[in-house]
Symmetry: C2
Subunit: 295 residues, 2 copies
């Protein structure tokens, strides 16, 4: 048996098309054009690529965006002032502070300063607290993307055993809380596994839906997967590959080649969860814009 | 085999004795006497009993406490003013707003108003967010009590399979997050089960440590417990009992009589988690007092 390949790029395109439609409808009834402000401090090359992609995704769905690029030496006070100005600006629907911030800036102080209603990354204490409490509002993009991808693939976690491998702040922990919620597309029996888990394979084989998010290249092998299970690969790891011009390639946390013969459905890397993450950012920005104009 | 009975009342007394010692030491080095302010709105009889017990626990360990009792008709604005005054008062170490609040008051708005450094119940968004993120500061008393009870009983969740049955805001969800943390007394492989779980018995039988927190009298039976497992009963349910003068008695979520012959260790109800909850409130109050004076 070969698993159904879940095409994250195609699903993300469908999400963006829906958002583009909704943005046009929002504007047609007199709403403001949603606008995302990204705060980028320093010159980390990867961050610059991410931010550019986020801006492009906004334009593609008819939103505007701006990047406020600050020098690596910018003071914390100055970053807080920028956030305060964006909070107060009615034309700004969403605020995203690109991580990581330079070491001299207290990232949690900056996150605390963002108006929770504009917190499209779902990282302010208010939104994190709501997520813990089972009443999520704006949530981090990667967990949101995983849920949306399952939903659009007609894979319902309801009543299923879900095992999340990894307990990161951005993926594992929020995903476990979301999937355990009593809400459509969730209500699963969720197990959180991690580096402290004994006999990881025995735990992962219990999963009807296995989510790999531990950041270890191809660590989930065929023997760790229950036949027919859905396998979602959140990992993005760069490994050496002499056959490529670049000398490297991207792989997930799942050993795709072997696992695809055991799983019922599987997400590839690249082209799986990755594209969903950026698509969910524009979903959050639209949601934030609508909510602010409704109040 | 009969399980070891974990004596929550005795462990709670030991916790209180430690806190009393630490309070005295704190004052001896010139610290302020820790003070808990409890805000009680309305005349729910059970709430009045809880608040009285909390005040008594403070006195017992050498802390002071006050109850600010407000009429059920008090406006939200007035409650927020009281909280603001307590936030600003240097003599107040901890603030606890007794739940439930009357229906006309937005409980989450009141919780949001509490200074997180004085939030001894761990219910402000900031503290809930920290808990979600795996860097807990002040945490709700019941999950704290469960962890402390295990620690003082030499039962280490490290590497164990823990199943938490129930996903409440006050117990199941925070407890799952705490037990999955990479920290001493945690680092367990945690499963969250609930009303949406299929074949609950199969899931609970996986547990080395089973935590019952679903609020259903004696729902966990012997057949659902792995021989030798530790069973922690968070439930407090009043059931009819014609043999008692009152006509009722308290039972947990675990069928104690049958489960004690299967489990390796078990907490009774009453006298298990209940006493721990109040003991952990004074732990939190001392912690809050120390932290405020350190800064």
């Amino acid at each position: 048996m070969t698993a159904r390949i879940i095409d994250g790029a195609a699903i993300a395109a469908a999400v963006r098309a829906d958002v583009a439609h909704d943005v046009a409808a929002h504007i047609a009834i007199g709403g403001r054009r949603p606008h995302l402000s990204v705060v980028l401090v320093g010159d980390d090359p990867a961050s610059h690529v991410y931010v550019r992609n986020k801006g492009r995704a906004c334009e593609e769905v008819g939103m505007t965006s701006e990047t406020i690029a600050l020098l690596a030496t910018t003071s914390q006070q100055k970053v807080l002032e920028v956030v305060a100005r964006l909070n107060a600006d009615l034309a700004v629907s969403g605020i995203l502070v690109q991580m990581p911030l330079p070491a001299h800036i207290d990232a949690s102080a900056v996150l605390r300063a963002i108006d929770p209603r504009k917190d499209v990354d779902g990282l302010t204490p208010t939104n994190q607290g709501l997520l813990l409490q089972g009443t999520p509002d704006l949530i981090p993009a990667t967990p949101a993307g995983v849920l949306e991808m399952l939903r659009r693939s007609d894979i319902d976690p309801e009543g299923q055993r879900v095992v999340v491998v990894g307990r990161s702040v951005l993926v594992g922990r929020p995903l476990a809380m979301l999937l355990a919620n009593r809400m459509p597309g969730a209500n699963a029996t969720v197990t959180i596994a991690h580096t402290g888990t004994r006999d990881l394979g025995a735990v992962t084989r219990e999963a009807d839906i296995l989510i790999a998010a531990m950041g270890r290249p191809r660590a989930i092998t065929a023997a760790m997967v229950k036949p027919g299970a859905t396998v979602v690969d959140v990992g993005i790891n760069q490994i050496l590959d002499a056959t490529r011009k670049s000398g490297t390639r991207l792989v997930g946390d799942v050993d795709f080649e072997s696992v695809k013969d055991v799983a019922g459905a599987i997400t590839p890397v690249p082209g799986g969860v990755g594209p969903m993450t950026i698509a969910m950012l524009v979903v959050s920005t639209l949601r934030a814009a609508r909510r602010q104009e409704a109040t």
